[in-house]
């Protein structure tokens, strides 16, 4: 059970859900240029529906069963993609449901299921912004028709109208990579004594 609420700072949420955001980002990073390439190679007429369909299909295939990185909290997890119609993308992390939509803004809820999702699983009730537990997040992705300028946001929905509590750019996974310095390699090898002659030689030459 996560201890995040709707009042949690966006950065705190981003940090907490990094293990799922990283594979999602990577899957989108791979799928977006691939979709553009397929459309070009097949000579298909590009349109937003086709493009996002190809991306969704590829992302789903890439993510399902994939291991989340363990470097952030040392917990082994596997991504489980839910079965959603029209290749919709939905998964969960701890007890937070994450849906992946194309676009830069949240679409208005047009079904009761979506409405409940936007309201953090509180059907028919708008969540209390101070105390309600955070149970829903949306990953928004967008790019131009060639797949360039990929932007990925994490968005915390607020109500059925598609307004959100906050929306943050998800940092690129490379910015989260953990690089550690083992103690054993802190001393550089020094073989110049041998190459240049030892200290005694130096003294003999007038040092």
């Amino acid at each position: 059970m996560n201890d995040l609420t709707l009042a949690s700072e966006p950065n705190e949420v981003l940090q907490a859900v990094r293990p799922i955001l990283q594979p999602v980002y990577e899957a989108l990073e791979t799928a977006v240029p691939k979709a553009a390439q397929i459309i070009t190679e097949q000579g298909w007429q590009n349109n937003a529906l086709l493009f996002s369909h190809l991306v969704r299909a590829d992302v789903k295939a890439k993510l399902h069963g994939r291991q989340c990185p363990i470097e952030f909290d040392d917990v082994a997890r596997e991504v489980v993609m839910e079965s959603v119609c029209n290749d919709g993308l939905s998964t969960s992390f701890e007890d937070i449901t994450l849906k992946i939509f194309k676009g830069t803004v949240l679409p208005r809820a047009t079904s009761s299921l979506r409405e409940t999702f936007y309201q953090h699983t509180l059907p028919g009730v708008e969540p209390d912004m101070e105390t309600a537990q955070l149970r829903s997040l949306v990953i928004l992705w967008d790019c131009d028709e060639d797949g360039n300028n990929l932007k990925i946001f994490l968005c915390c929905p607020k109500d059925r109208y598609g307004t959100y509590a906050w929306r943050e750019v998800i940092p690129h996974p490379s910015e989260w990579m953990v690089v550690t310095l083992p103690d054993s390699a802190s001393e550089a090898a020094d073989d110049f004594d041998e190459l240049l002659g030892n200290d005694e030689d130096a003294e003999e030459t007038g040092a």
């Binding site: 990073e29 690129h172 990579m177 802190s186 073989d191 190459l195």
Partner: protein
Amino acid sequence: MFLGERIRQAREIRGLTQEELAEKLICSQALVAQVEAGFKLPTGDFIESVAEATEFPITFFNEPPHPEFGIAEILLRAQRTAKRREILGTVRYAEHVYAIYVALAARLKPIPVRIPEVVDSPKEAAKQVRKVLGLEPNSPIANLTHALERAGVRFIVVSPSHAHDAFCVWFRKDENETPLIAAVGGREDGDRYRLSVAHELGHLVMHRSFLRKSNKEVEDEAWAFAAELLMPEAAIRSELILPLTITALARLKPRWGVSVAALIRRAYDLNIVTKRQYHYLSHQMSALGYKTREPKNLDVPMEKPRLLRKMAEMVYGKPIDFDRFSADTKTLARELRMILKDYQEVGDDASVPALEKKVIRFQPRAMRN
């Protein structure tokens, strides 16, 4: 009479024009020009003033001029935006530091120069250099600077400027030739430093003799050499696995000690990615702001040369007796201290390069897919 030449050297090491020195001395530019050309003998007071203005001890001006590098080739390879004066200042400073190397080397066993001359393709040249340096043919190079210092290359750390990231010289005196690389130090992007050093090494190895090649051909060869040296084709092919993403490349950066941008370029040059994919990845790098600055957490620490400090320690003890060092090299002790700051002390952890100390914690690719 060397005095005039020595005054010119002191002035140029400090990056001053004749006008600027004259202003400091409260005299005319014509007088400085005449003294430097040897047409007029300077008075004791004049030399004292020059010494003060250029921050050299008086004894510096009693010595014959130190050797100078051929500047024409260095000018040719400098960036087009660089000003001649800026380049000259950097080169003169490098000569000054090289003179300190020479003074120290006279009192120590010489390090045999093991930098080969190779007229083969850049790929072959890089292979031969790895062999000569005793490096594994297909592994990342842990510390290129130290490997080259052990092979007799003298490193000179120069200040950042618009002129060069680095330049190199084969310095010839009598029968001896010494390879020298001057590179900008004190920056954050150690990957850029390594690539610059590898590029200059390419010039030292492949362009030692006069060649009937255009400047562009020569530069392209040096870049191809640098890429093969730092990212040998046989090894990097097996790590640049499609589909390539910025994330996948970022994982390789600390391991190979090269930038993500260099890895993208390498993947394109080896036909691992198509032109379209290359442009896509480059576009993504721009969109993420990584063309200007790659993520800080992946910085490859700067390599610091250590030979100069080590030589000084062997001749003048540890801690270094700077008074004697200063007297022998005709350079103020405080300047010697400043110079040596750029050279690594053993146990100076700050400059142990990425490949010796950075380990990136990620699951193997097979586990992730």
